[in-house]
């Protein structure tokens, strides 16, 4: 039994130390905190070519396709974007939009006309050159009337796309947008070969680091190196394989036995034990992603801002961060803009656990006590059932009775999210204020989880979109963040790090936090040590 006691003690101690370490590291790193894998370890070895990299992913379904209209999960994103494709633009370690297939881009003064110049000598997997026409067709593919692309509404502002004879692509926008390049970094907007304006997405022939050899939906994808990849020296591995392993324990065992080199979606509860294995490395990447409980603003009692405030003070975010996220993240303050995003502020007073303050807000709404149903499912966010049970115990001290109702994972996004008054959900976040607010907080945004409608906020959002970068823009976004924190319907529990594990057979350099998992580029950016 002694082993048993030992690890528990170690885990307990380890969790505390790790949090302290993280807090210190984040303070030092400042806005560049995103760029570092924070695991304390020796310097990385020099990159090396060769090897067959196997990744075990917790997602993937027999219904998956290569259609870039939608990547439902990490498996399809890693395959369709990370291994096979490139966009015009990507987000770098500091959160800036930089060219990927585009060599450079520039906007007109009113931010309405954007011109992108392609790199020289780009080619698709089958050797065909990448032309400006292919870019136009690939973007237009998402904008057709019959398109069901998840990026469709994001591109609604585009009024025209043309390919110039000089090999440039020109986007004309309805309204000016300073952050437009970020939109083109959306992983769905990969560039595909086209014939007469019709793209070929079925073959998987794209511009990415790997060439598709075999794809069995819900099981695996096998790929080999693309020798003509435009990023010098990449990819390092000769070939790679993505395996769909939905069961967490099976995935972990596959890593432990060396059957795969990398796994995602770890079981947070046993993370301490996994980290103690000598040949396993746990990597946590801070990013913009966050977990939250969403209250529908048009459903009683959540239509009362005082009730929303009471609940925001009735949750012990530190406790949930420690127990559910094992310290891998940072507590939320009901502001969806992560601290490392440009123009981020930390609205005051900070919403921290205080049952008395919660009671006071409850009194302001004329209530002595409150009973609410909180709907959760395993898919809400990892550990959200545990988090809800903890929330229930926290809120009880403030006279608020929370009924935790576990819904089936199956159908959760259809029947609970946006339908039930109070539920668990998550967001991957976005690297810019405009992008984040437009997608999640504008009154008419499709993913406005809390159905929060605030005319003042919407006016500011439209105003800020075309403002050039500067103090005026900063002040505006600070005001908007304050408004969301105080009046919004989302209780942001924590910004969660992206946590994954790999064996010491493979190694990596600095990693990026957006999009998740080193930009989904693990197969090409990592190498065998």
């Amino acid at each position: 039994m002694s082993d048993f006691e030992k690890w528990k003690a170690l885990l307990l101690g380890g969790a505390l130390n790790r949090r302290d370490f993280l807090a210190g590291a984040a303070a030092l790193a400042g806005t560049a905190g995103l760029s570092a894998g924070l695991a304390p370890r020796a310097a990385h070895a020099e990159p090396k070519r060769g090897g067959h990299m196997r990744l075990g992913l917790g997602s993937g379904s027999t219904n998956d396709t290569l259609n870039p209209w939608n990547y439902p999960d990490a498996f399809t994103t890693m395959l369709g974007y990370g291994c096979l494709g490139n966009c015009l633009v990507e987000v770098d370690a500091e959160g800036n939009a930089v060219g990927d297939l585009a060599e450079s881009f520039a906007a007109s003064d009113d931010q309405k006309t954007w011109t992108f110049r392609l790199r020289e000598g780009l080619s698709f997997h089958d050797g065909r050159p990448v032309r400006a026409e292919d870019v136009v067709a690939s973007i237009r593919f998402h904008m057709t009337p019959e398109s069901t692309s998840a990026a469709k509404s994001l591109l609604a502002n585009i009024t025209d796309i043309t390919a110039t004879e000089a090999g440039e692509v020109v986007f004309v926008l309805g309204d000016g947008a300073t952050d437009f390049p970020y939109f083109l970094a959306t992983v769905l907007l990969v560039i595909m070969p086209s014939e007469g304006g019709v793209v070929d997405w079925q073959s998987g022939i794209r511009t990415g680091p790997f060439v598709l050899e075999e794809f069995e939906p819900g099981v695996r994808a096998k790929l080999r190196r693309f020798e003509g990849y435009h990023k010098p020296g990449l990819p390092y591995a000769d070939s790679c394989e993505l395996l769909s392993i939905p069961d967490t324990t099976a995935r972990t065992n596959a890593l432990l036995s060396g059957d795969v080199h990398y796994v995602d979606r770890l079981d947070m509860r046993t993370l301490g034990l996994l980290g103690r294995k000598p040949d396993i490395r746990i990597l946590n990447i801070p990013g913009y992603a966050h977990y939250y409980f969403s209250m529908l603003n048009d459903v009683p009692p959540f239509d009362d801002p005082n009730v929303r405030m009471a609940l925001k003070y009735a949750i012990d975010r530190e406790d949930i961060l420690a127990k559910v996220l094992q310290g891998y993240g940072s507590v939320g303050n009901d502001n969806p803009i992560a601290a490392s995003v440009k123009y981020a502020v930390d609205p005051q007073p900070v919403h921290s656990y205080d049952p008395d303050t919660a009671r006071e807000w409850l009194k302001k709404s004329g209530l002595e006590s409150l009973t609410v149903d909180l709907h959760v499912a395993e898919v809400g966010f990892p550990g959200c059932i545990d988090a809800a049970v903890l929330f229930k115990e926290h809120a009880a001290k403030a006279g608020i009775d929370i009924n935790v109702i576990r819904e089936p994972s199956d159908g959760y996004w259809d029947n609970v999210w946006l339908k039930k008054g109070f539920c668990a959900t998550y967001s991957d976040g976005r690297p810019s204020c405009d992008w984040n607010f437009s997608v999640f907080y504008a009154a008419d945004a499709a993913w406005n989880d809390s159905r929060w409608k605030n005319a003042e906020f919407d006016a500011m959002l439209a105003e800020g979109r075309a403002l050039p970068d500067g103090e005026e823009r900063a002040a505006l976004y600070a005001k908007m963040q304050d408004l969301v924190q105080k009046d919004g319907g989302n209780i942001i529990v924590a910004f969660n790090d992206f946590v994954c594990a790999h064996s010491d057979a493979i190694d990596h350099g600095a990693v990026v936090g957006f999009p998740l998992s080193d930009g989904y580029r693990i197969t090409s950016r990592w190498w065998f040590s």
């Binding site: 075990g56 379904s61 027999t62 219904n63 998956d64 396709t65 290569l66 259609n67 209209w69 939608n70 439902p72 999960d73 019959e146 398109s147 069901t148 692309s149 998840a150 469709k152 509404s153 079925q202 069995e216 939906p217 819900g218 099981v219 695996r220 395996l243 769909s244 392993i245 939905p246 069961d247 324990t249 099976a250 065992n253 596959a254 432990l256 036995s257 059957d259 795969v260 994972s409 199956d410 159908g411 996004w413 259809d414 029947n415 999210w417 959900t425 499709a446 993913w447």
Partner: protein, 319 residues
């Protein structure tokens, strides 16, 4: 013949029932496959594309008339330029399912009969009690837990086998057997108890009958009595419980497939249910139901063949 017709009738009813139940499920395929980030327009366009906006009865009739002709239609995940027929999705997986079931059955059935006979022969001995307690333990543990235990011992502690049973058509037989060893072993552990207990109970039940008493009085050895006289007469319930377990090996192995990432039909069906891919759900259910019905039919026939007196129940002394 009449049983065959009954079986076919059951099959049709099953397909209708599954269709109704799937229709009862909250949410739809369009929403389910597009995920939380799908906009309402996206969903609407999608529903139209796969025909979900037509009445359920029309969809069902169309499907069943196709199925009769051996055409199971297209999966909802088909798109223009990338068609995926239900048949091509199911066939390779069904082959895998049959392989695993066969592998497990080859180990489980002889083991169950041997253990059952031995524990009936030496009933109430330490052997009987140990076998009894061990088999009860193995069926009282959840399947996934048995699987995890095996993984811990035979993959993590002693690296004998693989934790991933992901095989494909090109996997050579040797590696295939090695990769599927643990899932097969899990299935053996969870099915052997049920069969072994029935073997033991049936033999003991027969032991109480007068002709066994007679054999005993004649001075035959206990082993001979059981093998020559008791076992043949206890065959009927044993065969039927074996049939049920064989059907289970094909139909009920979802959990084992998930844990070992084995590409079988169960996993496909769970996926299809959660994505509301009705044509695939239908076809899987139909295959499963057919398997179950066939197994029971085979058990009936085997029972009659193994004990000809059952053909003329009035003449024999079988109660």
């Amino acid at each position: 013949m009449s049983r065959l017709i009954l079986g076919l009738m059951t099959l049709v009813l099953v397909s209708a029932l599954i269709f109704m139940v799937v229709a009862l499920l909250p949410g739809d395929f369009a929403r389910a496959i597009l995920g939380p980030n799908a906009t309402p327009e996206t969903v609407a366009a999608f529903r139209h594309e796969v025909g979900l906006d037509r009445p359920a009865l029309a969809r069902y009739l169309e499907w069943i008339s196709g199925a009769v002709r051996g055409d199971f239609g297209l999966s909802f995940s088909s798109r223009s330029g990338n068609t995926r027929t239900v048949a091509e999705m199911i066939l390779p997986r069904f082959r895998n399912t049959l392989f695993l079931a066969g592998f497990a059955a080859l180990m489980a059935v002889p083991l169950a009969i041997t253990l059952g006979v031995l524990s009936a022969l030496y009933r109430n001995s330490w052997l009987d009690r140990t076998v009894n307690a061990m088999t009860l333990t193995s069926i009282s543990l959840p399947e996934f837990f048995v699987a995890y235990l095996l993984m811990f011992f035979f993959v993590v502690k002693i690296p004998l086998f693989y934790s991933l049973a992901s095989v494909d058509a090109g996997t050579p037989l040797g590696e295939r057997l090695l990769r599927t060893a643990l899932p097969a072993l899990t299935l053996v552990l969870v099915t052997v108890a049920h069969m072994m207990r029935m073997v033991r109970a049936s033999i003991i039940a027969v032991l109480a009958s007068p002709y066994i008493e007679m054999a005993r009085l004649k001075g035959l050895s206990p082993a001979r009595i059981i093998l020559r006289h008791a076992l043949p007469n206890a065959w009927a319930p044993i065969v039927s419980v074996i049939a049920v377990n064989l059907a289970y090996l094909i139909v009920g192995v979802v959990v084992v497939e998930v844990v070992f990432v084995y590409p079988g039909v169960g996993q496909l069906m769970v996926d299809a249910v959660s994505k509301r891919d009705v044509p695939v759900v239908q076809a899987c259910a139909l295959i499963f139901a057919a398997t179950y019905i066939l197994m029971n039919l085979a058990a009936d026939i085997l029972t009659v063949v193994s004990n000809p007196r059952l053909l003329h129940p009035k003449e024999g002394g079988v109660r």
